[in-house]
């Protein structure tokens, strides 16, 4: 046996997690601990109902409604609840605002905390060791990898989600969007702009949802 095969024998989870998960689910269903239809409903919720389009609507409204923006910055949980969003992993929300002189970036160095009700489940890069390790020590380098080079005079604020507060960035409204409807504005707002790894561009097609 090669050392690689030997390592496989002793790892906590065998290399085929699909089989392990299937076996675990069958056991837990048979024991009466889990309703498989509840699993279907949870998966459907996060695949189809909750995602970054929610957050984009919050951002667009804040751009159009100065009073809502104020409520959003002072009590984000309540303001976001006005739009019908909240719940798991969004029980305690904080919105931080970008400007010409301040750029915010959100990370969770200890695990992968992320504001589910407004952004959905996090992408792989947000959960990666590469992002979690470097966002706090080299945020400018991280942003350059995302194609965003910020001038030195812009202050970068990194928010490490070490507690149950969940952070969302309110990006700057792009120039040349004055006449646009709230709905059209929401279509410009990308997930990455609400994490802080991108800016919102006028007329840009929505990025990866």
């Amino acid at each position: 046996m090669t050392s690689r095969e030997s390592a496989h024998r002793h790892q906590t989870v065998p290399s085929d997690p699909a089989l392990r998960v299937k076996a675990l689910e069958s056991l837990l269903v048979e024991k009466g601990l889990v309703d498989p239809a509840a699993l279907d409903a949870l998966i459907d919720t996060y695949e189809h109902r909750i995602g970054p389009r929610n957050g984009a609507r919050v951002v667009a409204r804040a751009w159009c409604d100065p009073q809502f923006r104020q409520r959003l910055l002072s009590d984000a949980t309540a303001a976001i609840a006005e739009m019908g969003f909240g719940g798991l992993q969004g029980e305690h929300m904080v919105v931080v605002e970008n400007s010409a002189t301040v750029h915010n970036l959100v990370v969770c160095t200890l695990c992968s905390c992320y504001p589910w009700p407004v952004l959905g489940l996090p992408p792989i890069w947000y959960k990666s060791a590469a992002y979690r390790s470097r966002a706090v020590i080299d945020p400018r380098g991280v942003l350059r990898e995302f194609g965003l080079a910020l001038p030195e005079e812009v202050e970068i604020r990194v928010w490490d989600s070490t507690a149950e507060l969940r952070y969302v960035v309110l990006p700057e409204r792009p120039r040349g969007t004055d006449g646009m409807s709230e709905e059209a504005l929401a279509a410009l707002v990308t997930r990455d702009a609400m994490v802080g790894t991108a800016k919102v561009a006028a007329g840009e097609a929505p990025g990866p949802s």
Partner: protein
């Protein structure tokens, strides 16, 4: 614990791989284990902090090799066994032990929407006094518990300022071990990048870390 999960400030983890048009789940089993964690968690035998700690206990080399959802699987198996919902023998054989069946699952399909919308707030409406005020200078304590903590290594011993008092929350460092909620104030603490990383860090940059009263001392 000074585990490999405490990644802030480490080097050598490679480039950030950005996938365009990424699906929510890449494979079916990822969705199933994500949902299983929630559905089994609904039995309330443990809490979110204990669940995080179960993944921190994965040996470092394994932790870095595994994907996010592989860690969910490994952590959930440990919690299920530790808290007696199923034995290791049952998990290995796939066969329920006689007499171990529950009449009704804790989370049924018709309860999912409410379960998701209600969430599980970690704040507590208790008259606990804050030890610090906004603007006050504080030092993150230089502690190295071998147990769960949400005070990351890179902030320990460093001086910052209280940016905002978020109110009273459960304290994960005890709650993860089911040793009480020990509710106390949580603050966003603002650290200058230079305080954390030295004089070569950009002068204006800041890192905000959410910390509890027990993590902080006056500076």
């Amino acid at each position: 614990m000074n585990g490999v999960h405490d990644l802030g400030g480490m080097h050598g983890m490679g480039p950030i791989e950005i996938e365009r048009s990424e699906p929510v789940f890449h494979e079916r089993w990822e969705g199933r284990i994500f949902a299983l964690n929630r559905a089994v968690g609904a039995w309330a035998r443990w809490n979110l902090d204990a669940s995080r700690h179960s993944r921190e206990l994965i040996p470092p080399a394994e932790y870095l090799r595994m994907s996010y959802y592989e860690r969910f699987l490994a952590g959930l198996i440990e919690l299920i066994v530790q808290h007696g919902l199923a034995s290791r023998a049952e998990i290995e054989s796939g066969l329920p032990a006689p007499g171990s069946l529950k009449p009704v699952p804790a989370l049924m399909a018709n309860g999912v929407a409410t379960f998701v919308a209600a969430g599980a707030p970690a704040s507590r409406d208790l008259p606990v006094r804050p030890r610090f005020r906004a603007g006050e200078r504080v030092r993150a304590r230089n502690i190295h518990p071998a147990t769960h903590t949400r005070l990351p290594r890179y902030a320990r011993g460093r001086i910052g300022a209280i940016e905002r008092d978020h109110g009273v929350f459960v304290f994960p460092d005890t709650n993860a071990h089911l040793r009480g909620e020990k509710a106390q104030h949580v603050y966003s603490v603002c650290f200058a990048a230079r305080e954390l990383w030295g004089s070569r860090a950009p002068e204006k940059d800041r890192v905000y870390v959410d910390l509890w009263d027990d993590h902080l001392e006056p500076a």
